[in-house]
Assembly symmetry: C2
């Protein structure tokens, strides 16, 4: 394994609802492959929305599951104000604030939202992790 | 929100065990920030391992959860043979094969492993999704 992540797939209960959420967040659904799945080009990786039951079937596991998924995605911002703006955008898009914006234990500003399917996103401003012009993020040297 | 994912955080029951797994997968732990967390630079994004209970606390939610997480990461390969090699590497590293390598419904070759903490990774060869020299992946035009 070399250091890359190709795709993050979020299992969804309602694909159309989830697509509307991510489109309202400002993302553009890939127009080419739309049959029972939604793809979003996210810089150098792909975000995929796929029915939860289909994802479980594809992996060959039981679809039941409840409570905390144990996974969070993070969207790092270029400013503190942008943390609040993205959280507000998530609410307007039909998501839920899980943790309101506030001071992070590591010193920056952070908050969490859940998408319409319950997946967690942290929205964080962390000046110690530089964001390049193309959106890629780098750990401190 | 602009199209990027900054960090994928996997909640872990045993941080040291999880670090050993990902190091055995060939990844390099960031040496600078190691206190209760592990970071891996994965191309333009960051993979983070963080105790599951701490992640729930950070998000302000209840840590309980069981069964299918509803999330899968994917590692796309440059060849079919590499799918098998990465799955074998995952077993050698202490992971579990969830779905053995075989033909994907979309035509390529795919398999799934779980890391030591139960997080799902699909390992897939999909020639329709080109992988650049730097590891970034692109949806078909």
């Amino acid at each position: 394994m070399v250091p890359r992540v190709s795709i993050v797939t979020l299992g969804v209960d309602d694909l159309d609802r989830a697509v509307r959420f991510y489109e309202a967040m400002g993302l553009t659904r890939h127009a080419g492959i739309t049959d029972g799945v939604a793809f979003f080009q996210m810089g150098g990786i792909i975000l995929s929305l796929f029915p939860r039951s289909e994802l479980a079937k594809d992996a060959g596991i039981h679809p039941d599951g409840s409570g905390f998924s144990g996974v969070a995605l993070a969207y790092n911002t270029r400013s503190q104000a942008e943390v609040d703006a993205v959280l507000e955008q998530a609410v307007a898009a039909g998501g839920t604030i899980v943790r309101p914006a506030g001071r992070a234990f590591w010193g920056g500003r952070t908050g969490y939202f859940a998408d319409t399917e319950g997946h967690l996103w942290e929205v964080a401003h962390n000046p110690a992790f530089p964001i390049a012009a193309d959106g890629t993020i780098t750990l401190p040297a």
